[in-house]
Structures are given as structure tokens and as C-alpha cells.
């Protein structure tokens, strides 16, 4: 019964996606990330995701992120399909898509409510939250020991572009989704062929911008992006287009911070050098997007996801979330 309602909820969201609330992304950009999230909720995937045996929690709280507005979709689907009552705790003053999720849930009889009240987590038997490490630690410490807490701290993602690769449009898509602010957005593109990549990527970035225009960018993000462009000009190369930028930097200046629609290209001698570059932060890796070939070698990093370019922001439903077997933890 609940599963059927979740399917109905999914279909309503898809049909109504153009009416989703403004979340700072462009209309097309918002549609892209909603589609990506809903696409993962196939009938088969839902059935498989619900296969781990166990009793559902009566109630759960999902603490929603400010930046990746579509992230709650899979959690809500999984919990609601189990028959769990769900409270979606959204950031104060930034409801994001929460009211939209709730109105469509109410329409199909799913027990979903939204709140900005921090106290919602206090007596919840299950809390799912994503945030930086301090947040997760603070939240964990504030909960009863009996609360099951699934907290997901800071992660970053990288793309690997090997010599001879051609999937620039797929890479630009990964950079466009969530305007580059997601954990699964490629914060840096490591490559043994920076010139080859830079020959293809500007046009791909421009095409992505035309298809999914960049949304709102804060003053500090603009300033930081221009600052990185200065760094790139001094140490590598900066290419700045309308609504996008490419910053080629040496490995010494590689940053795990992704900026809106800004591709950070890091030239390395070979894949071993790329692996070495991410090795010290390997435990924080979320997703690695790989062009053409080389998935096997990247799997050695221990990154939870190694996928083809173009799929970085499109996680399948049945997987380990940041390496955690979350599907089995949503039941008692």
C-alpha cells in the first residue's frame, strides 16, 4: 500500500516538476536535479531497496540540506514506502522543495510533514542527516543513545579525464547539476591530458549553460570564483564564459571546494599521480567520475561510487550511501 503511494507520489512530482518552488537554481537546472532524483525511483529499484527484512520505524526525521535540494527524495521514498511517518526538517528560512514534497504526499495519503524546528529530532527513533562534520557530530551528541542516527559528513567528488577521452558534454552535465554545489559534483577534474580536455570543455560548458542555465550565485561565490580565476591565471590558465568558468591549476593548488559552474582542471603526469593527489582525503571521497576507461584503478581508492562521466549526480537507489549500507538501517 505504502509502496503504491510512493509510486504515485513520484509520478505526481514528475508531472508537476515545472511548478516546483524556486530554490535558486534555474527552472531548467531545478528540473534536471529533480528528474535525476526521480529517475532513480524505478519500480524495480524501489522493490529491491525495500527487500531487506525488518520492522519499519514508526517515525523518522530527515534533516534536509540547503544546497542539494533534491537529496531528500530518495530518503523520503524509502522511508515512506516502509510505512514510516516522516518529518522533513529543512533549514530555517529555506524550505527548499519541502512544501512541494509535502503537498504531493498529502494528496496521495503519505504521512509526511515539514518543519524548520530543530526540536523535531529530539525524540525521533531514526534521524537521517547530511552536513559537515561538526554538524553531524553536534547532532549525534544531541540525540538519545537509543536513536538510530545516519549522519553523513562532508564528502567531495572528482572526475578523471584520461588521454583520448571525448565525453566533455557528460562532464559538463555533472558540473551543471546543482550548479556544482553537490557532494557528487566534481570538485576537481584530474587529467593526464589537460590540453585535450581544455580543447573540448569550453564548448561543452557553454552548451550545458544554454540547456541548464546557471541559477543564483551569491556574492561570496562570485568573489571566490574570480579569486580562483586569478590564481589560475598566475599558475595555469583561466577560461571564463557566460555563466561558467574553467580554472586550470597545478596539483599544488588543487582544492576540494567546488564552485558554481566552475571546472577546476588539475593536470597530472599519469593516473598514479592523480591517485596520489586524492589519497590523503580518500576517506572523504563520494564519487569518482571516470572517462572512457580506468574505473578499475579508481576503485582502489575506496570511493563509494565510481561511475561514468554524466552519471556522477545520478546515483542509483540501490547502493551504499557513502559506503554505508543504509537500506538495511532503515528498519529495526
Amino acid at each position: 500500500m505504502s509502496l503504491e503511494r510512493v509510486r504515485a507520489w513520484r509520478d505526481r512530482l514528475r508531472a508537476d516538476r515545472d511548478a516546483a518552488p524556486d530554490v535558486g537554481l534555474s527552472t531548467q537546472g531545478r528540473g534536471l536535479v529533480i528528474d535525476d532524483a526521480l529517475d532513480s525511483l524505478t519500480d524495480d529499484a524501489l522493490v529491491e531497496a525495500l527487500s531487506p527484512a525488518g520492522a519499519p520505524f514508526e517515525r523518522a526525521v530527515v534533516v534536509a540540506a540547503r544546497t542539494v535540494v533534491s537529496a531528500p527524495i530518495e530518503w523520503l521514498a524509502l522511508l515512506l514506502a516502509r510505512g514510516t511517518d516522516v518529518v522533513l526538517k529543512h533549514p530555517a528560512g529555506a524550505a527548499g522543495l519541502a512544501p512541494w514534497f509535502v503537498s504531493h504526499a498529502e494528496a496521495v495519503g503519505l504521512p509526511l510533514v515539514a518543519t524548520e524546528d530543530r526540536g523535531a529530532v529530539n525524540d525521533a527513533p531514526l534521524v537521517v542527516a547530511m552536513g559537515d562534520d561538526n554538524t553531524i557530530a553536534t547532532l549525534r551528541a544531541s540525540l538519545y543513545p537509543t536513536t538510530r542516527f545516519l549522519g553523513f559528513g562532508s564528502r567531495f567528488s572528482v572526475a578523471w579525464w584520461s588521454k583520448g577521452s571525448t565525453e566533455a558534454d557528460a562532464l559538463a552535465r555533472d558540473l551543471a547539476a546543482h550548479d556544482g554545489r553537490g557532494c557528487m559534483s566534481p570538485a576537481m577534474i584530474l587529467t593526464d591530458d589537460p590540453d585535450g580536455l581544455l580543447a573540448l570543455l569550453p564548448d561543452a560548458m557553454a552548451r550545458a549553460q544554454a540547456r541548464w542555465p546557471r541559477g543564483e550565485v551569491s556574492a561570496i561565490e562570485h568573489a571566490t570564483s574570480r579569486s580562483r580565476a586569478v590564481l589560475a591565471r598566475a599558475t595555469g590558465r583561466a577560461i571564463v564564459g557566460e555563466g561558467w568558468a574553467i580554472h586550470r591549476l597545478p596539483p599544488a593548488h588543487a582544492s576540494k571546494v567546488s564552485l558554481p559552474r566552475a571546472a577546476q582542471v588539475i593536470g597530472v603526469t599519469d593516473v598514479d599521480a592523480a591517485l596520489a593527489l586524492v589519497a590523503k582525503d580518500a576517506h572523504r571521497l563520494s564519487t569518482i567520475g571516470v572517462a572512457s576507461q580506468g574505473a578499475a584503478v579508481w576503485a582502489t581508492t575506496g570511493a563509494p561510487r565510481v561511475v561514468a562521466l554524466g552519471q556522477m549526480q545520478r546515483p542509483v537507489l540501490v547502493r551504499r550511501h557513502d559506503g554505508v549500507p543504509h537500506l538495511t538501517l532503515l528498519v529495526r
Binding site: 547530511m130 556574492a219 561570496i220 579569486s227
Partner: protein, 334 residues
């Protein structure tokens, strides 16, 4: 053009400008200084896109770049080195100077001009500059008087010693503090300052969990310390000049420092009176970069004074880590 000749011109400009008779135009000196810096620093040279004919065209180095690259003409480790506090991101920017003659001369000149009644006795809620040699703020305050006591060590305010220093003084004191240190000090019992004392507050609360509005801090300090007045100071490690103001009034830059508000997206200059991202053009920045781009927002008024509005709007760019953080831990709860 040599460093020595530029220093001499800057010192002459500082002296002359305060007497209303600058020996040359700001533009002329700024353009020459920039050309010299670009000729001796590949970082600054990389930013040059075309001819520079006026100060506002000089490309500015963003403050974050000081954390990544060695900016400026000092390519060895000789001279003076100031570091940013690094409280927000942990990485510290570095400003290297061959010598501080223009910094020191200008800092004292402008402070004396703005504060002719500056008390000689200084009680500083700051690190001792003899120990914290890389603190530009301590260095600046240390220039104002030899009669100073210092009451911060490794970031901790020694409130008892500060209280004792105030109580021991029967002459007015110049109490110099960061906003954060002052707020910490005011958390406890504090003595009233001797009559005629002045409080200087600088900096904000960036990167700190404890926050207090500036207005509340000033009101609390005024009520409990009883100074003649409170003055505000705006300086940056990457600059060599400072602006002075008061809680009610805009910051006043010295004649050798110009501010410009720019569009954060394009970097294009904005009309006076329009809020924007602040850039500074500091003739005393001989060895670093004459032009600095901050991450602060402000309004540059028609007369060159600056109303500071704090950090640029928007969450700091940290990718997905700023999700619920902004935040369960901080003030802007989700």
C-alpha cells in the same frame, strides 16, 4: 625606478598629502608603483591585461591568493612578515615586506591625525608584538606608544592582568582590542577606564562561535568602561594602511589609501554610494600588492569614506559541506 626611490616618493606623499600639498598625484605614484611591482612579481604581472592609466584600473590581488601564492616583490625570507589570523579557514595569508618604513610612517601619521587626543598609555587586548612578530595589528598598535601592556597570549585574553593594568593607571588609557577580545573581556567584571580614555575596536567575529552584534558590543563597552569615546579601526594584514572611524561614522582612509566597490560577479567598478565588494589601493603597500581585493562588502561614499557592511553576502563557498551546518553549530540554524 628603484624601491628606494619609490619609498621616498611614498613617504613624501604621506607627509605632503596630510598638509594638503601632495608632491604628485595619487595616480602617478600608483601607476609607477604598480609598474614596478608587476616588473618584479610574476603573480602581479599575470594579472595585467592592458595599459594602466589610473589607479582604479590596477588589477587587484584577492586576499585568498595570499594564502596560496607568494605575492609581492620580496622573494627571499629577509624582512618583515605578517600573517593573517586564519581563524575562518585555518590557512594563513602572508604579507612580506622588505621593510616597514612606509607602513610605520603612515600608520602613525593617520592615527595621530584621526586621534589627536590619543592617550599615551596603551592597554592592549592584543598579543605582544615582541612575541607575535607576525601580527600586523600588534605591530601597528606598538607604533603608537612605548608605554603599552599586552594582555592576549595565544588567543587567550588575560582578563585579570588587563583589569590590573587599567586599575593601575590614573591617566587616560588607549584601550585597543579586537571585537572578539573585547567581548570576551566584557564577559567578566571590568573596571571603569580612567577619565579621558578611548577605546579602539577592530575586526569582527569571523570564524568564532561566540557572536555579538557590533552595536551591542559598543553599547556595553560605553556603559561599563565609560570611555570618552569609541573609535573603530579597519585594517588588513595584506594592507599597509588603516582606516579609522567611529561606531556612528564611516571609516576614513588616509590620502594614500583609496577604496573602490566593485561588482562581485564582474569585478567592474561601481558608482560611489553603491554597495559592493571592496578593493583597496594602498600606496604604502610597496613590497606586496598595491591593489587588494577583499571579501568584504561596503559602500564607498563620494568623499572616499567607507561604510563597512561585513562579509559579502552568501554562504562561504565550501561545496556540499554547507548543508545543514549553516547551521546546527552556528547561529543561522536550518
Amino acid at each position: 625606478m628603484s624601491r628606494e626611490s619609490l619609498v621616498a616618493r611614498v613617504l613624501a606623499f604621506q607627509d605632503g598629502a596630510l598638509q594638503g600639498r601632495p608632491p604628485e598625484s595619487f595616480d602617478a605614484l600608483a601607476c609607477d608603483l604598480h609598474a614596478w611591482q608587476a616588473a618584479h612579481d610574476p603573480v602581479i604581472a599575470s594579472l595585467v591585461e592592458g595599459p594602466v592609466t589610473t589607479w582604479s584600473q590596477i588589477p587587484a590581488v584577492p586576499v585568498d591568493v595570499f594564502k596560496q601564492l607568494r605575492v609581492g616583490t620580496v622573494k627571499d625570507d629577509k624582512g618583515v612578515l605578517f600573517r593573517t589570523s586564519g581563524t575562518t579557514q585555518g590557512v594563513r595569508g602572508v604579507h612580506r615586506m622588505r621593510a616597514t618604513e612606509a607602513y610605520d610612517h603612515g600608520a602613525v601619521l593617520w592615527a595621530r591625525r584621526f586621534l589627536p587626543d590619543m592617550p599615551k598609555r596603551i592597554v592592549a587586548l592584543l598579543d605582544d608584538p615582541r612575541r607575535a612578530t607576525d601580527s600586523s595589528l600588534s605591530h601597528m598598535v606598538g607604533l603608537f606608544s612605548d608605554d603599552a601592556s599586552w594582555h592576549v597570549t595565544d588567543g587567550r585574553v588575560d582578563t585579570e592582568a588587563a583589569n590590573a593594568a587599567v586599575r593601575a593607571s590614573d591617566a587616560p588609557v588607549f584601550l585597543c582590542a579586537t571585537a572578539f577580545a573585547l567581548a570576551i573581556w566584557l564577559e567578566g567584571e571590568v573596571p571603569r577606564l580612567p577619565d579621558g580614555s578611548i577605546v579602539m575596536v577592530t575586526g569582527g567575529f569571523k570564524g568564532r562561535v561566540v557572536r555579538l552584534s557590533d552595536d551591542d558590543l559598543y553599547a556595553d563597552a560605553m556603559t561599563r568602561l565609560g570611555p570618552k569615546r569609541i573609535v573603530t579601526e579597519y585594517g588588513m594584514t595584506e594592507l599597509s594602511s588603516q582606516m579609522w572611524g567611529s561606531p556612528e561614522d564611516a571609516y576614513r582612509p588616509p590620502p594614500w589609501l583609496k577604496a573602490l566597490a566593485v561588482d562581485p560577479e564582474s569585478g567592474a567598478p561601481l558608482e560611489p554610494g553603491t554597495p559592493g565588494q571592496l578593493r583597496f589601493f594602498d600606496l604604502a603597500n610597496i613590497d606586496g600588492s598595491l591593489a587588494i581585493e577583499t571579501l568584504d562588502e561596503g559602500v564607498v561614499l563620494g568623499d572616499g569614506a567607507v561604510r563597512l557592511r561585513g562579509r559579502l553576502a552568501g554562504a562561504p563557498a565550501r561545496g556540499c559541506s554547507l548543508t545543514v551546518e549553516d547551521g546546527w553549530v552556528g547561529e543561522d540554524a536550518p
